[in-house]
């Protein structure tokens, strides 16, 4: 996105102005270089990161840390895999120290099969973490009431799923997503998870979502760097389309070329 566009259309999350509406994950790439190239091609300002147990003999954690630090991107640690409020809070505290940020992509998973967020655990964890000074970006379902309650406890950004993590199914429930946009017009909404193709990301942006977060669709493509660029373009296109205002769809045809003055057309 060029400077003029950024100035006219900033994305502001927790008071920080961002130059990109594309948030990219750092998992599943076939090589560290592919990850770095994809991040560069995406133009993203924020990358998501995780934490896991590691043996002292394996210093890949330090190597990974250096790589992501060198990207210059803002880090958004996640609590992936946490299934309880306690696990999420401990993981968040570890992330804050490790990554030196109080920003957090909060995940509390309620079901192993579709990795669906547990709305009750998510809400409780969000409330406690905000009291501890975290800036929480909750990975949530597209349920309006849950989203309203997450705002009530202090979340300033919401990240509803498009569809389950890693599926690539796109926007599973457009009605719910449109409802969120309409009912929460001033809240930054980021579609997180389930996006499989640039057209799906574009659809989310055309719908009025403020940004898109994805990982698998880039990392598992045949050429991640090229796919990252494709997503960046689609997200920018979708945003421009939303700002321009889409025409209303209609059920019947309407000629675009003027009818008056058409040759070879005679009354009777």
């Amino acid at each position: 996105m060029n400077t003029e566009t950024i100035q006219n259309d900033p994305l502001t999350l927790y008071g920080e102005h961002l130059s990109s509406r594309f948030l990219l994950g750092t998992a599943l790439y076939h090589s560290p270089q592919a990850m770095c190239d994809s991040i560069a091609a995406s133009g993203c300002d924020i990358i998501t990161v995780g934490l896991r147990r590691q043996s002292p003999k394996d210093n890949s954690g330090d190597h990974f840390w250096q790589l992501i630090r060198d990207t210059g991107c803002k880090l958004l640690p996640n609590t992936a895999g946490c299934k309880s409020v306690k696990e999420a809070i401990t993981t968040a505290e570890m992330s804050r120290e490790l990554f030196e940020t109080n920003w957090l992509k909060l995940e509390v998973i309620g079901d192993d099969y579709n990795l669906q967020p547990d709305p009750f655990g998510l809400l409780e964890a969000a409330e406690q973490l905000i009291k501890r000074g975290f800036k929480v970006l909750p990975y949530c379902t597209d349920d309006l009431i849950l989203c309203q309650k997450l705002l009530d406890v202090g979340c300033e950004v919401l990240m509803p799923w498009g569809s389950p993590i890693g599926t690539g199914l796109g926007l599973m429930n457009p009605y719910n997503l449109k409802t969120l946009r309409e009912r929460l017009p001033h809240i930054p909404l980021i579609v997180d998870a389930g996006i499989g193709s640039p057209s799906q990301a574009c659809e989310a942006m055309e719908m009025g979502f403020d940004a898109v977060l994805l990982n698998t669709a880039v990392a598992k493509s045949q050429q991640p760097e090229q796919m990252a660029l494709a997503f960046a373009k689609s997200i920018e296109a979708g945003r421009s389309a939303y700002r321009a205002g889409l025409m209303e769809a209609r059920q019947t045809a309407s000629p675009s070329t003027p009818v008056v003055g058409q040759p070879f057309w005679h009354n009777g």
Partner: protein
């Protein structure tokens, strides 16, 4: 003799150590890590004064890719 769990692996200690001593012996001292004992976060500033006890479950984590 103390028996601990370090990242899910059992280990024995002849005598009680501080958390910082344990991490150093295990080769973590130069690495960027965060630690929890029995599911509770232990800030780096408390490693020296935190003792490890029999039956403790210690998690040492590092940065990885995440979505």
């Amino acid at each position: 003799m103390l028996t601990l769990s370090l990242n899910g692996d059992k280990m024995n200690l002849q005598q009680p150590d501080s958390l910082s001593q344990l991490l150093e012996k295990q080769g973590y001292q130069a690495q960027k890590i965060a630690v929890a004992i029995n599911g509770e976060f232990v800030p780096r500033s408390l490693y020296e004064q935190t003792s490890v006890n029999d039956g403790d479950q210690i998690d040492v984590i590092q940065a990885v890719g995440g979505g």
